[in-house]
């Protein structure tokens, strides 16, 4: 019984939140990695693209709720998501046309593009603040829980409860769908194949008659869709605040680099590696250990390796370790 209790406590505090957070990071890292693979620079504006998409989705959600629309037990934001994606696509395409295109034609070095993306980051951050302000916004509606801690305790007779939030389950389901769609697109469609060819060898792809403008456009569209989805899922799970999204940049980049920049499978793996390390290292293990160990060995303290405020340090430490020992990431990524 104690063993089962330990498993449930672990699932409740580590596995379920870790899976949801990992899925959010993975979708975010996919966007970063696609930009890196095809446009060949690290896009610092990605966090703010996520924030922009989420802000638009929140506004549309509010309008839908005002009109009396609802999605039953699921959050209304899911209905608004396509609109958010569409608007974000328009914005990133406009930015690409107005800003990045010039440097692409100049064949500017990647580091210049990174600095340009810093400028875009400032602008998008400003736009987000214009659009929605700096408040903390919660926009999850519908059922809050699929499994409540109390219901679980009553149904199983265990001491520990297991709570699964709708948003957590939703995150994982949406992530699976998104990833499946993306891989189907990259591997089966003509455009997807030309994207991969372009990423592998630009010159060869151009020689084979692949239209670079089209590839770049499609990439931005996919990236906008991924960023908005990741942002909305994160916002549903926690809450929306422009500044938090900027801070997500670090774990997202860590995920993309740990997995191998430019490699989509790596981005997904990296997302979960980062998420689970953050959660396990900042989790207080006292409860689980109390169930597992005999009474004489029970821990006095919280058995928390690092306080939750140091979660950045965790993603960062993993990043450094991977870079020092396996510079191209866990899965082979590109290097410029």
């Amino acid at each position: 019984m104690d063993f089962l209790n330990a498993i449930v406590a672990l699932a409740n505090f580590v596995i379920v939140p870790g899976l949801a957070y990992g899925a959010q990071l993975a979708i975010g890292a996919l966007g970063v990695t696609l930009i890196y693979g095809i446009l060949r620079f690290s896009n610092f504006a990605h966090g703010d693209t996520m924030a922009f998409g989420t802000a638009i989705t929140i506004i549309v959600t509010t309008a839908f709720v005002g009109m009396g629309l609802s999605f039953g037990p699921l959050p209304t934001a899911l209905l608004a998501l396509p609109v958010g994606i569409a608007v974000t696509i328009l914005l990133v395409l406009a930015i690409d046309w107005g800003v990045y295109k010039f440097y692409r034609q100049q064949k500017a070095s990647p580091v210049i593009l990174v600095i340009v993306s810093m400028g875009v980051m400032f602008v998008m951050n400003g736009i987000v603040r214009f659009v929605i302000g700096v408040r903390d916004i919660r926009f999850a509606d519908g059922e809050r829980f699929i499994v409540t801690a109390r219901g679980f305790r009553e149904a199983t007779g265990l001491d520990e409860g297991l709570a699964i939030k709708t948003t957590q389950a939703l995150t994982v389901v949406v992530a699976v769908i998104v990833v499946a769609l993306l891989f189907w697109f990259l591997n089966k469609t003509r455009t997807g194949k030309s994207m991969r060819a372009f990423s592998d060898n630009e010159d060869l792809a151009l020689l084979s008659g692949i239209n670079p403008d089209w590839v770049v456009k499609v990439t931005w569209m996919i990236v906008a869709a991924l960023a908005t989805t990741a942002g909305v899922l994160y916002g549903l799970d926690k809450s929306f605040k422009a500044f938090t999204y900027f801070q997500l940049l670090l774990p997202i980049f860590a995920a993309a680099i740990v997995g191998g920049l430019g490699n989509p499978i790596g981005a997904i793996a990296g997302g979960f590696v980062i998420a689970f390390s953050e959660v396990t290292i900042t989790y207080a293990w006292k409860k689980v250990l109390t169930y597992l160990l005999p009474e004489s060995l029970e821990p006095d303290g919280l058995v928390q390796l690092l306080s939750t405020d140091y979660k950045f340090a965790v993603s960062f430490a993993i990043l450094i370790i991977v870079l020092l020992f396996k510079p191209t990431g866990l899965f082979k990524g590109q290097s410029v």
């Binding site: 990174v114 400028g119 602008v123 951050n125 670090l250 870079l323 020092l324």
Partner: protein, 433 residues
């Protein structure tokens, strides 16, 4: 127009902007902007050393600035004897042990081979971590329990705060050495992410380690290198002299202290500028630029690229540390929560790019100009919005929205300025020569 005339004219523009601010908004605000502008110029010089001279992409400026601020607290505040006796030595022992663990792990990593290397390193790190916590934690708890409302930290050395400026530089240099040792071999964008992460970690440590500088409880009322306004106002000779200039004592004392800071900051700026100029013109500076422009060729000429990169990374970060200590001195308080990457890292980058990377005078111009703009965008934006919405009815939602949005103009403007400069004048206002 010769380049000297053009550069002087650009600095003249900054002077006119500051004087204009003085006339329109009062000399107090103008001096406030000037003081932070001088500090920003020093930060920009530090980043220019790294990016302009050597092409190192450091976006962890905020961390080094914060370390400088920490130095101000550690040097100037009074020590807390109760805290030292409660757990001071334990904390020091813990830190020394932690450092020894890392050194041992690095030594093991270097000297052992194969699987034994991995196992021994892991054992040292994991075992060391738990031992470190066992030594360190009780000390930390004991220290933080000492009079937590006012202290709860070990305090400082009670030395003059001016000393903290060079010490802030040293502290930042030490951190930069450790970071550079691990991260400088990496590619440019990896180095960027690594420094971004380090900066966040430094801030996290400063927020959470209350025994060090009280964390988010902040340290206020730091010593000042200039006299207090209230003392000046109570000083009859000062009041008399102020009256001689036709000023009332309150205004005069405000201006006097701010002028004092401005003079101190200008001296530091000139010293650092002189050093940076000498470095730029020396063979060392030419070597740095050669490495920046073509690492492979420089390496073929027998230059030790990694060592030179480490050197300039440490120097540039030290300059940022000095600026950080100066800023905390000016503020008179250390508030770790106020360090935001957009303000302390990316804004400094905007200054360097706009001013002209690779040119020290460009960095200073960028620092002063962009800081002026950063402060003035809000009032300017509000004025603009008032004009735009003048035709609208009072209290209409659109008008309120427009006026409210003026507060968010800053970031948008900075981004636009950066993008426009990169597009139309990529070498900046005073380009490298």
């Amino acid at each position: 127009m010769s380049t000297t005339v053009r550069d002087t004219a650009l600095f003249g523009v900054v002077a006119i902007l500051l004087i204009g601010t003085g006339i329109v908004q009062g000399w107090n605000s103008a001096l406030l902007i000037l003081n932070m502008g001088l500090i920003s110029a020093i930060m920009a010089l530090g980043v220019n050393l790294q990016w302009g001279f050597a092409g190192l992409f450091n976006i962890g400026v905020m961390g080094f600035v914060a370390l400088g601020g920490l130095a101000a607290v550690l040097i100037s505040t009074e020590p807390v004897p109760e805290a030292w006796s409660a757990g001071g030595l334990r904390i020091i022992a813990g830190l020394v042990f932690g450092a020894a663990t890392v050194v041992a792990a690095v030594v093991a990593q270097k000297n052992l081979e194969g699987r034994r290397k991995t196992i021994v390193t892991l054992v040292i790190l994991v075992g060391g971590f738990f031992l470190y916590r066992a030594i360190f934690d009780p000390g930390k708890i004991a220290v933080e329990a000492v009079n937590p409302a006012l202290q709860g930290n070990l305090g400082g050395l009670n030395l003059p705060i001016l000393l903290s400026w060079p010490v802030g530089g040293l502290l930042a240099a030490g951190a930069a050495w450790v970071i550079g040792k691990t991260a400088l071999g990496l590619r440019s964008d990896y180095l960027a992410i690594a420094t971004l992460g380090i900066a966040e970690i430094i801030i996290a440590i400063m927020k959470n380690e209350d025994w060090l500088a009280r964390g988010v409880k902040n340290v206020i009322g730091l010593d000042r290198p200039v006299p207090y306004e209230i003392d000046l106002q109570n000083d009859p000779t000062f009041v008399e002299r102020a009256a001689g200039f036709g000023l009332d004592p309150v205004t005069a004392s405000n201006l006097y202290t701010k002028m004092g800071y401005a003079i101190l900051f200008t001296i530091v700026l000139l010293i650092i500028l002189w050093l940076a100029q000498m470095a730029l013109k020396s063979p060392w500076g030419r070597m740095m630029r050669a490495i920046r422009d073509n690492e492979t060729a420089a390496e073929a000429m027998g230059k030790d690229v990694t060592a030179r990169h480490l050197q300039i990374f440490v120097l540039g970060s030290a300059v940022c540390g000095v600026a950080g200590a100066m800023m905390t001195t000016l503020d008179g308080q250390l508030t770790p929560a106020s360090y935001q990457p957009l303000r302390f890292t990316f804004l400094v980058w905007v200054m360097v790019i706009v001013g002209g990377s690779g040119n020290n005078f460009g960095a200073i111009l960028g620092g002063m100009l962009i800081w002026w703009l950063w402060v003035q965008v809000e009032p300017l934006g509000l004025g603009l919005m008032n004009i735009v919405s003048a035709g609208l009815e009072d209290g209409s939602p659109l008008k309120e929205r427009l006026i409210e949005s003026a507060a968010h103009m800053r970031l948008l403007t900075m981004g636009l300025v950066l993008l426009l400069v990169l597009r139309f004048s990529p070498r900046g206002l005073i380009p490298e020569r």
